[in-house]
Symmetry: C2
Amino acid sequence: MSLQAERITILGSGLVGSLLAIYLAKRGYQVDIYERRPDMRKNRVAAGRSINLALSERGWTALEQVGIRKQIEDVAIPMYARMVHNTDGSLSGQPYGKDGQAIYSVSRGGLNCTLMDCAERFPNISIHFNQRIEDVNLKEKQFAVIKEDGQVDRINYEILFGADGAFSALRAALQRTDRFEYSQSYIEHGYKELTIPAGDSGSFLMEKNALHIWPRKNFMLIALPNQDGSFTCTLFFQFDGEESFSRIKTKAEAHDFLNRYFPDAVAMMPHCLDDFFHNPTSSLVTVRCYPWSYEDSACLIGDSAHAIVPFFGQGMNCGFEDCRILDQLMTEHANWHELFGAFQLSRKPNADAIATLALNNFIEMRDLVADPHFLKKKKIESRIAQLYPDQFISAYGMVSFTNIPYADALRRGREQNNLLEELSAIPNLDDDILSAMSKKILK
Amino acid sequence: MSLQAERITILGSGLVGSLLAIYLAKRGYQVDIYERRPDMRKNRVAAGRSINLALSERGWTALEQVGIRKQIEDVAIPMYARMVHNTDGSLSGQPYGKDGQAIYSVSRGGLNCTLMDCAERFPNISIHFNQRIEDVNLKEKQFAVIKEDGQVDRINYEILFGADGAFSALRAALQRTDRFEYSQSYIEHGYKELTIPAGDSGSFLMEKNALHIWPRKNFMLIALPNQDGSFTCTLFFQFDGEESFSRIKTKAEAHDFLNRYFPDAVAMMPHCLDDFFHNPTSSLVTVRCYPWSYEDSACLIGDSAHAIVPFFGQGMNCGFEDCRILDQLMTEHANWHELFGAFQLSRKPNADAIATLALNNFIEMRDLVADPHFLKKKKIESRIAQLYPDQFISAYGMVSFTNIPYADALRRGREQNNLLEELSAIPNLDDDILSAMSKKILK
């Protein structure tokens, strides 16, 4: 290998850290992962707060590249459509793509355990648990590890990857270097997990192969299926204001709120009031920064470089794509400084694009049924897709079912949206006009 | 006093920390200031790197309020005009305001020493030097102080103000709290200090009562007078690119560059090549964050809450205004939590506005002579000011010669600029048209 290194150190054995380790181990490097938490495989958290993720094309591509697609497919549930739960109790299905196209519900914990298992099968990967990283010294190439007993070790590194998430210790060190661009920005909504338990003998109480959404304009509830027949639900709701988490202080208030907006869901959630007050309310941050790397020795990857809100289901997929692109660039560069430079230059515009797409998609998800203009545009878009199945891909499709760079998906999505705005203003739109005008956005 | 506190702790004895201490001491509080550096009055830094500031109306108002205007006036040099040094060597003066209106050149070090002297005259103010603050624990109301010998003390506080600048320790603690909005953003330009020494027996080699500018489109040199007859010069120049700091590596290259663009200045700077390589290249950051306070116990003030670029000469003036407004709000609020809430709500829009105005003013300063359209608008603006001396104030005037809130100055400045754009497009503009159209922006 042309990129010289005895050992590579990774902060974080989360989804991206574990997959990155596999990529690097396959290239023959000795990899050490330092993880703050205990080994989740030995201390399995009791059910209840198992966040669900939607794995889509970019994620699969990155997993396939290192030959572990099959292991994950076994635990993933395909969701072929959004199932919209309207206020009047009616349901309407909206397929995500063409026949057979789906995004896949996976449990974060389960997927992480599988990835760590895959990683530890490599003799050249070691995961060190219960290692809290406190203070990365970029110049000395050293960090402090606080052990469970409070003892502090100093660890030297040669090459360091920060896969340590939205509150990265490596990024905190970069933030203190001169001319480091950084922003963290929270949305007005927080989220709270609720659960629809399985029915008799592990049956699903709603359609299994769908992502369920209760769009309510300013807030929404979603539900993703788990393998045991339950659904993990997430309420996205404003922290403050007229209708908000801060206004719901009693079980009676929570009962009124949930029953007013989600009566069909509540009927399936016997413990929702307890869950509502027992589960935390979490915040949602977008992190943007640059550069992602320090000289020839340290580089951010995944959420530590670009934490995004979850509304496009792309946080993990983007992090996995980071690993695949980094690996690809490793074949093209002879030293780490150049590699890191090429990596951040290639990924930064795409990370910025998916951050924007994710923020925008929240509005789309909340408004799915409420806005007639939006539905009219969606109808026209479907017609274009029918007429030109090989030449037209919606923005959602580009993000979820292709590996087209996010920045291109954002740009083409905007062009498409401009066209849809124009088309929706035409009184008697027929296929001839539609075809003529669609030419400019077809591939 | 209604706001209860035994002691108040301030981080930083810089300009804002010292003035804030005086405001609080006058209200009877016991004030302790912790300062990272040694006492600059005892360890006076040798001349050469004495950054100069432009004190304007907001600064004076805040100083007057605590009765120390006179002390500062004694060491301030009025600058009544911009003196533009054109590329052909010609000079053109542009008055800042009406007759007698000036901004005032003061040395940061000198002003800081005077403010500390004023502060220490109060028996209830103590300044503790050589105290590096490392770790503010907001919940425990405690911070760590690293002494010169490396010893660590833990100090408890009751009320804490962070006047500790752009890299504030208090803000670092706030950044780790949930839902804290934060951004740091650098411009592409850095700056380097150069010096025009005094002439024979302390004479000034250029017009004393002016701020000298060499606008060169993408970069610029400025010079402010010192009391000893010298001028402190600052070169604002891109870090990277065709013409940039990174391209000037040898004395020959520096010589060529400086002589090509600033020949008249170079003629007065015998040591400019040595200075160029000896003095550091510093970066310029804008920091935006929110909230500025934590519960009823801690609050940011000055640069720690809103570091801005120096191109409007308002960083210190804005920080001094913070002190005045805080003091005013102290008479209206019965507890610290309410006070901090009112303070940040009142100041945040104004801090954001001056951050924007400062970034915009860099372009204006660099382009002063180069852009005929800009000069045409300036001429029309002057005519409006002549016709309506009591009803029209330029954006520059509102910022520098009034205490009109920055947010209002920004908004009115934009309205004025829109009008100036309209007016400059009119072929035969006479006073009648001018007057008729100006009505909408007059007070």
